[in-house]
Structures are given as C-alpha cells and as structure tokens.
C-alpha cells in the first residue's frame, strides 16, 4: 500500500533510467533506522495486513452504513487525481517525455506497474469500445475483494474511484467508474466500466435491476445510452 511523502530511493538515484525495477527488492527501499519504506518513485509506503482492510471496510460500514461505498469511492477518486499529478512528474523524469506524447497503452501500463508491485493486483485495459466513449478495466487479484471474500456484491469501490480520478485528470474530462463484476460476487476477476456520468449512472441502475456485467456490456454496445 502506498502513501505520499518525499524521500530518496538510493538505488533509483544511482540508476534513474532503469525501467525494470518492479521486483520487491528493487522497488522498495527499507530504512530500518527510520522505520520507513520508500518506493522507487520516492513515495512513502506502509505495509498493512488484510485485517486493516477488513477493519477499514467494516468500521466504515458501522459508522455510515450503505454510504461506505460512496466514501470509499470518494477516497479513491481523490487518490487517483493526486496520483495522476504525481505520475505526470515521475513519468517525465524517467522517460524524458511528457505523458501526453507517450503511446497510450505504454503509458497506462507504466502507471499501473507500481500498483502491482504494491499488491493492488494486475490489470488489463480493454479499449475495444473506446470509440463509443467507454472502456473496461479487468482487475485480477483485487486486494479488497480477496480480503473480504465472497460477500455477494461488488466491494472494490476504492479502485473504481481510483480509476475515475486518474482518468478524469489524464483525459481532462469528468469521468466516472463503476465495478460491474467482482471477485466478491463469486466471479474470477473484477471488471470496471469507465465512461461519462450518464453511462455509469445507467449501468448502476441496470445493476440494481439485476443485470450482469455481460448484460451491461451488451446494452452499452447496442448504444442504449449515449455519452
């Protein structure tokens, strides 16, 4: 898990153009004297157990009930927005290139790699529907869903917010995101829909009516909601 704070990663300083630095030993720098963990990009990290995630989720639910999903989404949203600014800086520093000049898929993979190293899971971006103004993100091994187990509903609101926040900043348009399939619903992986607010609201409505991820994909591809 990552938080923000500036610090120096010695290996990174020694070899700033090394790109294959996502192994556990390379990516994290442990300072036993200070009791800190700093990642390759100088961000302060903390390691937490699954109990922390359960405690966060259940504590929030106890405090605010069903609104906990919206709160987790909002936390993710702010995180994603902040992280896009942070990413802009370290990407340019590492590759001598602005994020706006880079190849999109390369850019996105580069953004997500630190998350994979930090234990947030692997992802796959499905851009096949981009011309219709929406896209899907498949997430494998979600830290939240894996921890909470099969609870029969989507639980990765933090991720949905993170994607919405990051892409909103990157695309410079207000985008929303919803998890339409979750490991915690008994599925093998989590699936997120990213797009304009109207589409995401429609998907949320269909989900409440019992639609599956496949139903939602079909309805969107059929052009039921325009962006």
């Amino acid at each position: 898990m990552a938080t923000t704070a500036d610090s120096t990663h010695l290996l990174q300083k020694k070899n700033p153009k090394k790109h294959n630095h996502y192994s556990f030993r390379d990516f994290f720098q442990f300072d036993a004297n200070k009791g800190t963990v700093t990642d390759w990009n100088g961000s302060r990290n903390i390691f937490t157990s699954e109990d922390f995630i359960i405690g966060l989720q259940e504590g929030l639910e106890e405090e605010v009930g069903p609104a906990s999903a919206a709160i987790m989404y909002s936390i993710g949203l702010e995180w994603g927005k902040q992280d896009s600014l942070f990413f802009d800086k370290w990407f340019e520093k590492e590759f001598d290139m602005s994020t706006r000049q880079a190849n999109l898929m390369f850019l996105l993979e580069t953004w997500w790699w630190p998350f994979t190293s930090q234990g947030w899971g692997r992802w796959e971006v499905d851009m096949s529907d981009r011309k219709q103004g929406f896209m899907f993100i498949n997430l494998f091994d979600s830290a939240v869903a894996r921890t909470l187990g099969d609870v029969g509903k989507p639980v990765c609101h933090l991720y949905a917010g993170l994607f919405a926040g990051f892409f909103t900043e990157m695309v410079r348009k207000q985008l929303s995101c919803i998890e339409i399939q979750c490991y915690s619903m008994g599925e093998t992986y989590c699936k997120f829909l990213l797009g304009g607010k109207e589409r995401i609201d429609a998907a949320a409505f269909w989900m409440n009516e019992g639609a599956t991820a496949r139903d939602i994909e079909k309805r969107l591809r059929a052009g039921e909601v325009k962006g």
Binding site: N103, L104, M105, K131, G195, G227
Partner: protein, 104 residues
Amino acid sequence: MIATAASRNGTAALNKAEPWQRQSVRQFFESVSWEGPQLQQVNVQTSSASSAPMRLSMSVQTFFDTFPWDGSPEIAVPMAPLSQPPEPAAEDDTLTLDAFSELF
C-alpha cells in the same frame, strides 16, 4: 488383452484356420490394415443406403461397421470458415493521451 486382429481392424486378411497367436510377427503385422481400407463385409446395409432403423440386437462391431466412417458426409457440407475477426486498428500503436481524450 484378448482381441483378434480382425475384430480390431476389420481386415479379412486373417487365415481363419490359423489362430493369430501362431502367426509370425511379420505375418501378423502384414495382416493389419494400416491404410484403413477394406472393412469387413457386414451383412447390414449402411445407414446411407437404408432409412430403416438399425436393430438394437446388433453387435457393437456390426453397429459401428454400418457407419460410413471414410465415406462422404451425409448430413451437411462443412461450413465455410468464419470470417476473420477484424485486425486491431493500426492507430492503437500510435494512440496518445490527447487522441484518447477526444473519444470521451
């Protein structure tokens, strides 16, 4: 394993007077229908020749011998191959953030 060459391959090359156990290796393997032709003559018309239902009292060998295994297909001609999925757009390789932003 108890089996006869005839029952395994349908070849008629076996000399019925001589059990296959007494054949030399060469004789035995020469009697095997390696190329797959010449099924044993069965006294039942194949399903292609007759629309009468096959009797359930047939032996397994007789039943399966009625199938036109090597013959022309009776049911349907093979489907034309499905059209190839479209090639991913070439622009994928060059898509930048600005171009992507235009799509939303």
